[in-house]
Amino acid sequence: MAMDWMVFCKDTLSGDVVAGCFGKGRDITYLDWLFSAWGWTVSVSLTALVVALVVGSIIGVIRTLPNSPWLTRFGNGWVELFRNIPLLVQIFLWYFVLPALVPPMKNFPPFILVVLALGLFTSARIAEQVRAGILALPKGQRYAGMAVGFTTVQYYRYVLLPMAYRIIIPPLTSESMNIFKNSAVAFAVSIPELTQYALQVGEETARPIEVYLAVTVLYAISALVINRIFAWIEKRARVPGFVSSGTGAGGH
């Protein structure tokens, strides 16, 4: 099969090949559009990652709190709820169902709805990891915190969480790469991200192989960059003498 990479240099309206491949003024080429789609994928994923980290940490922590059975139950319920419904169905829930049931949500832009769907879906997984990280610490750490007179908030903030987060950096890395892959599902509600681009432009230009290849490579680059960032954080945050990762959470 002969590949025709000039397809990306074409103007999206006239279909003429533009010199330099980037459109001038108001005109855009398929290459301009590709980068805009990548921008959508990155911004949906990163915003959802922030939501997932914040909510996931809170849920993960309350599942480990001592003497709070109802909070623990709430946390467990949260995880079961978001883990047992397919992401695509959750996207439809946020996009179609909730705005119909809760009228103020009708004014939410689609971007926010998709970010909430993806973020809360991932929060359940991150909550599992945060919980596992806290439980992986020896019980003595908690008691040591109590013994020096810390309040619950203080010993989580200064004793448990700093170590727990270091332990779970490897699974957090793969979850962060997953969020980029999962953001592809946003195509179903017409967010102009990479997968939507692949579907639409693949059809428009009748050059689906080139278009899919470009999109797939951009997904791979995004995942690689995230991976490198986390590797850097892991290196910077390493506590001398404390083996936190390396072979990781696999084991037996």
Binding site: M1, N84, I85, F96, A100, K181, A184, V185, A188, H252
Partner: protein, 222 residues
């Protein structure tokens, strides 16, 4: 507050729209699991063979499949399989091929971990009684690896079942599509999306409860 009307939920709707989709989702999950375990085990054996020419292509295949978004894999297969075999195939058939290929990549990592979890002594014991590589794998290693990894394999199957909803991208008629079509026909999309949510939740949640109890009963006590 919108008025929800669940009166459309009756046997006619289930028979007319849902059962066909539910059947396809279950079939897709089952075929992908069976095919995935078979091809995944072969991939795992390739990766553990210690032969570069077997290990490298298997590793490449698994890593590529795992780093591309699922939806893109589904779209790629829908595009490429007809080109390779030279005639168009339906969305459902394409979905089956895609999910076997996907499941093979995911299950191979699980089987690899399972095989590696077997103590080396077991391999040596098999060799000591004169078993060939094939006999050793089939009679000694794989049964134990499979049993050790059963909970993980089942959990992956539940994830697979949820992922089958992504065949939406190529328009295959699965459980989600069934509810969506019913919603469009009756003009009640909100209600049918809610029904789809409940259906997926009930199936996934009960399966994961089963996995938890298997986890307690089947674990090999060492």
């Amino acid at each position: 507050m919108l008025n929800l009307d669940f009166s459309i939920l009756n046997w006619g709707l289930i028979q007319g729209f849902i059962l066909k989709g539910l059947w396809f989702s279950i079939l897709l999950t089952a075929v992908a699991t069976a095919g995935g375990i078979f091809f995944g085990t072969l991939l795992a054996l390739m990766r553990l063979s210690g032969q570069k020419w077997l290990d490298a292509p298997a590793a490449l295949y698994v890593n590529v499949m795992r780093s591309v978004p699922l939806v893109m894999v589904i779209l790629w297969f829908f595009l490429l399989v007809p080109l390779l075999i030279g005639r168009p195939i339906g969305a459902e058939y394409s979905a089956v091929v895609t999910f076997i290929a996907l499941a093979a990549a995911y299950f191979s990592e699980i089987m690899r971990a399972g095989i590696q979890s077997i103590p080396r002594g077991q391999v040596f014991a098999g060799q000591a009684v004169g078993m060939t590589y094939g006999q050793n794998m089939r009679l000694v290693i794989l049964p134990q690896a499979f049993r050790n990894m059963l909970p993980v394999l089942l959990t992956q199957t539940i994830i697979l079942f949820q992922d089958t909803s992504l065949v939406y991208a190529i328009g295959a008629y699965d459980l989600l599509k069934g509810f969506e079509t019913a919603g469009k026909n009756f003009g009640r999309p909100i209600e049918t999306y809610l029904m789809a949510t409940v259906t997926y939740f009930v199936i996934s949640y009960s399966l994961s409860s089963v996995v938890k109890s298997i986890n307690r009963k089947f674990a090999i006590i060492r």
